[in-house]
């Protein structure tokens, strides 16, 4: 119970996010109307993705420093978790775009940047699968992981802000400004949605890591 407090917290936070997200008051904006509720889900997913990719990159750095095989496993699983949340973020964003911009995909720079970032991480998985030697796979995977993480920043955060974009945050205005978000939404977004999705991502990833460790233990004792 004491070790798993954060899982219970995750359930509470996400339940609150879902209930308050759909039933809570939101400001009435033209075009956006009720779709503004997507903020709790779509943006939360991206925060979770960034958190998971950051942890993955940190474990890659640790692996290059110390060469413990567990570090490689952690960085792989956190990267996979980040990819899942990234795909979910892209999906929730496309659904939102269908109702506000008119189409699921409109080649918006932010959409393209996010798709490119995910493609780069898919290439990471392909690279790992192309090698059979475990140490080499771990080391080269760690190098590419750090490279891919560094490429996240220009593709998702820097270039879409500099060019014409319909996405909130394009053309130079920062979207996470404290003046830009309604105070009622802040009380749900920052304390509940963002930590809730991050904790969910970490929970799923740690479960996968434990499963992989058990599989490896079973294989090495067989």
């Amino acid at each position: 119970m004491l070790k798993n407090w954060w899982k219970i917290l995750c359930v509470i936070l996400l339940t609150y996010t879902i209930l308050a997200g759909f039933l809570g008051p939101v400001p009435a904006k033209p075009i956006l109307n009720e779709t503004i509720r997507n903020l709790y889900f779509h943006v939360g997913m991206w925060f979770a993705m960034m958190a998971l990719f950051t942890v993955s990159a940190i474990y890659s750095v640790f692996y290059l420093w110390k060469s413990k095989p567990n570090y490689d496993l952690y960085s792989l699983e956190f990267a996979k978790g980040g990819i899942v949340f990234g795909c979910l973020g892209l999906a929730t964003g496309s659904i939102w775009a269908r109702y506000t911009w008119g189409a699921f995909w409109s080649n918006d720079p932010k959409q393209l940047g996010a798709a490119i970032a995910l493609l780069i991480y898919f290439a990471y998985l392909v690279l790992r699968n192309s090698m059979t030697d475990m140490d080499k796979r771990a080391r080269i995977g760690a190098v590419y992981n750090i490279f891919a993480y560094a490429m996240l920043f220009p593709t998702i955060l820097i270039i879409p802000r500099m060019v014409d974009s319909l996405h909130p945050g394009g053309m130079g205005n920062p979207a996470m400004n404290t003046k830009d978000i309604d105070s009622r939404m802040i009380t749900i977004f920052w304390p509940a949605a963002v930590p809730g999705w991050i904790l969910l991502g970490v929970w799923i990833t740690t479960l996968r890591i434990r499963l992989q460790l058990l599989v490896e233990k079973k294989l090495s004792h067989a």
């Binding site: 780069i120 080391r139 750090i146 490279f147 270039i159 500099m162």
Partner: protein, 220 residues
């Protein structure tokens, strides 16, 4: 500092000398460039400016993949290990980056010439576009050199390098096509300098990452 400079220069001269004597990479890629552009001409005739630009960057991309693959992956493993041991890893990758950048400069100007010859010349300002094609060629070569280093360690062919490389160069291709759009417009628009600075910053990021990460790649 002076020592590493001399080492980089020595490695660079070695690559250059091998090129001049064996002429395998250069003529091979030149043949590839000429054939591809010729096939393109047969298929498309003389397209308008938009299509022309798109086709040019596609050709640059494939030329870069082939040029860098040939130059990096043709050395045997023993020879690579020898170089790593006598110079540092950072010097080695820096000399490779420089050599491939030079190769791409040459290839860019040649492919631009062939493009103008066969597919027509819609550029309002040729000198500006030469500069942009050089910038583009060098940027692409930096990414593919680092990926060729990874692919060489993974003992896979150029195919893996291409698979890994295409997602990674998409940001640069997007920036390059935006820059060429601005450069092709008859009126001088603002924002060109900003885009070029972003592209240059991206290149610097890639070079720094390569220098930091390459030593970990060859530690066998």
């Amino acid at each position: 500092m002076k020592g590493s400079f001399l080492q980089i220069w020595a490695l660079f001269k070695k690559d250059l000398l091998l090129e001049v004597r064996q002429q395998y990479s250069f003529y091979g890629v030149l043949l590839y460039v000429a054939s591809t552009i010729f096939v393109l001409y047969l298929a498309m005739g003389q397209p308008e400016a938009d299509v022309w630009k798109g086709l040019f960057w596609m050709i640059q991309l494939f030329v870069c993949v082939n040029a860098v693959a040939k130059s990096f992956l043709q050395e045997g493993r023993g020879r690579l290990l020898y170089f790593y041991s006598i110079t540092g890893a950072a010097n080695f990758i820096l000399s490779k980056l420089l050599f491939n950048a030079l190769l791409m400069l040459l290839m860019s100007i040649l492919s631009l010439g062939l493009f103008v010859l066969m597919l027509g010349d819609p550029m309002p300002d040729p000198l500006r576009f030469v500069g942009i094609s050089w910038l583009g060629g060098v940027s692409l070569s930096l990414v593919f050199t680092f990926l060729a280093a990874i692919a060489a360690r993974a003992q896979q062919s150029a195919a893996l390098m291409a698979i890994l490389g295409f997602p990674l160069v998409i940001p640069q291709l997007l920036l390059l096509s935006k820059i060429s759009n601005i450069a092709f417009a008859d009126v001088l628009q603002g924002g060109l300098a900003g885009m070029i600075v972003v592209l240059a910053a991206l290149d610097v990021l890639i070079v720094v990452l390569s220098l930091i990460l390459f030593p970990f790649l060859w530690k066998d």
